[in-house]
Structure formats: structure tokens, C-alpha cells
Symmetry: C2
Subunit: 254 residues, 2 copies
């Protein structure tokens, strides 16, 4: 471990990130300008510029020449995390999102959830099971487990309005995400709740998110194969994007 001093541009970056994570700086809020950072921290303007430029590249803030630097709003923030919100996706397609809460309680999760969250098998978790609908048609069955200490008020949310994913992002910026995508046949419960036809497979996304270096949430997301797809579009930095594809499903990056 070579514990050389942290570079000053990095110190400035972490200063800003802390203010965003703590909620002191909200989306759309103005971030100190380069000159203000020069005065406040004593670094040169080039160093302040590098800090803000990198935060911009990483999606934390948005910079407008001649105007200022601002905390990126939710849309941009979720881009950073590469974790999208099903409700936002549905609305982006011009449809209406609704949700039915099937289950909501503090209880031990199943073995896979406990293992994924690195806790004892009988430890209590905040568990919810929700069916998300796109214009009335079920499109996702969400089976989610959250470490209670991370979000003590989690179960008090109205998940018909706020999705678990959106609430968790608001509690703390997620630092890491892992997901696995599979195709499998639904069990009877899933098939019924997603109103799936016979011989229709599920697209299953298993997602785990981290905050402060620890896994804090585990989710299984079941989607009817005939009504859902994941799409992604990648362009290397510094390339002009070609014409956009007609997105027919949730965009799933990373």
C-alpha cells in the first residue's frame, strides 16, 4: 500500500461527491464554480477545472459554459449507475406505470438473498414483492430484499408511487451494481402474476447493488419474454452517435 498523498484534484472531487451524497447538494443545485473552488481550497484553477471536468465525465455534474456547474438530475444520475428505473422507462415510452404491492414485510429472505447480501440466513430483511404494469399490462415482477440498516424507512414507502429502486437511490447513491441476465420458464406464481401465456419464457434479471462497499440490496426481476427486452447502445467516448434505435424495452446498460 503506497499511501502517497491524495492528489489535490481528487480531494476536490471527493469534497463535491460528499456534498452530493449527503444531500447537501441536490440535483439541479449549483456546484461551486472553478474560481470559488480556487478561493475555498487554495488549488489553482487548472486543478479545480480537472476536478469538475472529471465529475462531469463521470456523470455527477453537468457543466454549461458561461452559466455554471450543476448537480446532475435523476436521469443523469441513473446513467452513472447504469441502473434504470422501470417506472421512468415506461414513462419514457409514453405509457403509464402502475404497481401492485403483493407483499411487504420485515422477514428473513431466502438462502440466495441472504448469501448475496452477505448476512446470516435467518437475519431479517426488508422484503417486498411488486408487480409493475405498463399501461395496465404486467411487465415486471420485482422480488426485492434490502438490508434494513441501510434504509430503515424502506417499508414505509408507498411503492405504488415510488419504485424501490428510486427510493434506494434517494437514500444513498449506489456505488456498485452487479447483474445477471437469464432466460428461464416461470413458476406458476410468476406466470399468473405476469399474465403470461403457456410456453412463454421469462427474462430474469438478478441485480445486486452496493453502497459504502457493502451489498445493500438484492432483487430478482422477472419479465414476460414476449413483452420485454433489454437493449443497450455503446459508443466509445469521442464518437458521434449514429441514428438512434427504436427502443422497445428497458435500456439496460453495463
Amino acid at each position: 500500500m503506497n499511501a502517497t498523498v491524495t492528489p489535490r484534484y481528487r480531494q476536490v472531487k471527493e469534497l463535491i461527491i460528499r456534498r452530493i451524497s449527503s444531500g447537501e447538494l441536490q440535483p439541479r443545485d449549483r456546484v461551486p464554480s472553478e474560481n470559488e473552488l480556487v478561493d475555498a481550497t487554495g488549488v489553482s484553477r487548472m486543478t479545480a477545472n480537472r476536478a469538475l471536468r472529471e465529475l462531469n465525465d463521470e456523470g455527477y455534474v453537468e457543466r454549461i459554459a458561461g452559466v455554471g456547474t450543476f448537480v446532475a438530475d435523476f436521469k443523469a444520475a441513473s446513467h452513472v449507475l447504469e441502473v434504470r428505473n422501470i417506472a421512468a422507462e415506461i414513462e419514457r415510452r409514453g405509457h403509464t406505470h402502475s404497481a401492485i404491492v403483493l407483499f411487504s414485510a420485515q422477514a428473513p429472505g431466502d438462502a440466495a438473498a441472504a448469501a448475496a447480501l452477505n448476512i446470516a440466513a435467518d437475519a431479517p430483511l426488508s422484503c417486498v414483492r411488486i408487480v409493475h404494469q405498463e399501461s395496465g399490462l404486467p411487465i415486471q415482477l420485482e422480488d426485492r430484499y434490502v438490508v434494513p440498516d441501510f434504509a430503515p424507512d424502506f417499508l414505509r414507502q408507498d411503492f405504488r408511487i415510488t419504485t424501490p429502486s428510486a427510493y434506494l437511490s434517494s437514500v444513498s447513491p449506489l456505488q456498485e451494481a452487479e447483474h445477471v441476465v437469464r432466460a428461464q420458464m416461470p413458476d406458476a406464481f410468476t406466470k399468473k402474476n405476469l399474465e403470461m401465456s403457456d410456453q412463454e419464457p421469462c427474462l430474469v434479471v438478478t441485480r445486486r447493488t452496493w453502497a459504502h462497499g457493502n451489498p445493500v440490496s438484492f432483487a430478482r426481476l422477472y419479465h414476460p419474454g414476449s413483452r420485454f427486452e433489454l437493449s443497450g447502445h455503446y459508443t466509445p467516448p469521442g464518437t458521434k452517435t449514429s441514428e438512434r434505435h427504436p427502443a422497445t424495452g428497458e435500456t439496460e446498460n453495463d
Copy 2:
């Protein structure tokens, strides 16, 4: 269109990218150092530094303090494109890759392929159909269409040794990629070639890649649901990665 002059750091970046794309600079080759760029282009060292630093951040090159800057090798290059090679994935898991070429010819593709590649429905395409096996077990049926002009020698490759994806990357660095992931039941042909059981769904990845701003390749990749999954792990820049997950399938990054 405000056609202000291109910033000098960007000109230097494009200079290096051109040398890499043209093949003049091969993976592992040494890239001109900051001081050499200062002498060669007349920019200041800070400007040369920014150009090389951004190329490093974008995955084009790898920098080692005290040693030099080098063109990123294939592993890193595919990370840039977020398009992985099935053979490399299989070998990474310690298994052996083999391939069976079912079909290989110049012929018109189907309507979807022609539309995806933006060409006339009856225009000839280089078409191949390949079954990829992991230690003898089929794991991917690849249905690929390539624009002939892009890779004239495409059909002359031995796809038992070089995968289409690997060959296409060697012809020209891919600049853009788009993919869609679906779950669907296999048709009889697919089911047979992938040795799938009854009631087993397919994970289908449809992928389109661009070069020089034009779509050049379209592929449908069918995988048996019971033997394949896509996984991804995302960490925001500047975060220490937590313990790694046991990858059981091809990593699929966008």
C-alpha cells in the same frame, strides 16, 4: 453548427487513434511519449498529457508511470467496445472452445438482417451459421451477416479457429455496438443444434456493430437458457471494486 477550431488536445487524440485504427500502431506498441508529442506537434506538455490521459481513460492505451504509454491489447480493446468474444470467455473459464460451421456463403440475408444493415433486401451478404461449444457442449448458435465490402475476406476465414467477432475486430476497430437481449422459445432447428431439452427457453442476443459510422455486421446469438447467462458488474470511476463475483457465464457489458 458552430465550427470552432478543434481543440489541440483533441487533435492529438485523433492523431493517435488514427494510427491505431490504421494498424500502424499495434496492440502493445509504444505510443509517443508526452515529450515526443510536444516536439512533434508543438503543443505544451499539459496538452499532450491530457490527450494521452483521456485515451487511457477511454481504454485506447495503457500508461505506466516511469515506463511509457502503450496501445491497449485485445483484452483491453474489447473492453472498450464492451463486446466480448465467446471463445475468449470460454477459455477464461478454463474450458475449451470448439466450433462447427453449419453454413457459410454469400447470399441475401433475411429481411431483418437487411433492414438492420441498411441495405436492399436482395443485396448479397456474407452469411455464416456457427455452433460454438464449451468443452463439447453447445452453448451458442451464431447467425451472422456481414456487409461484404467491409470485410471482403470474411468468408475465407476458418471459423473453427477464429470467431467471426474476433476477425471483424481485427479488420477494423468497431466504433459502435448495439444489442438487444430477449428470452424466447427456440425453433426446432435451434433446439436441436443447441441440444436443448423440452421446455427450455433461449437467451437471444441480437447485436449490431458499426464501423466508420455505418452498420457493418448483424448477429443473432442463441443460447440455451439452462447453460448460459449474461453478467455485468459496474463500478463508477474512482471506486475501489469489491470482491469479485463468480462469473458463470459470458460477461456482457454494454
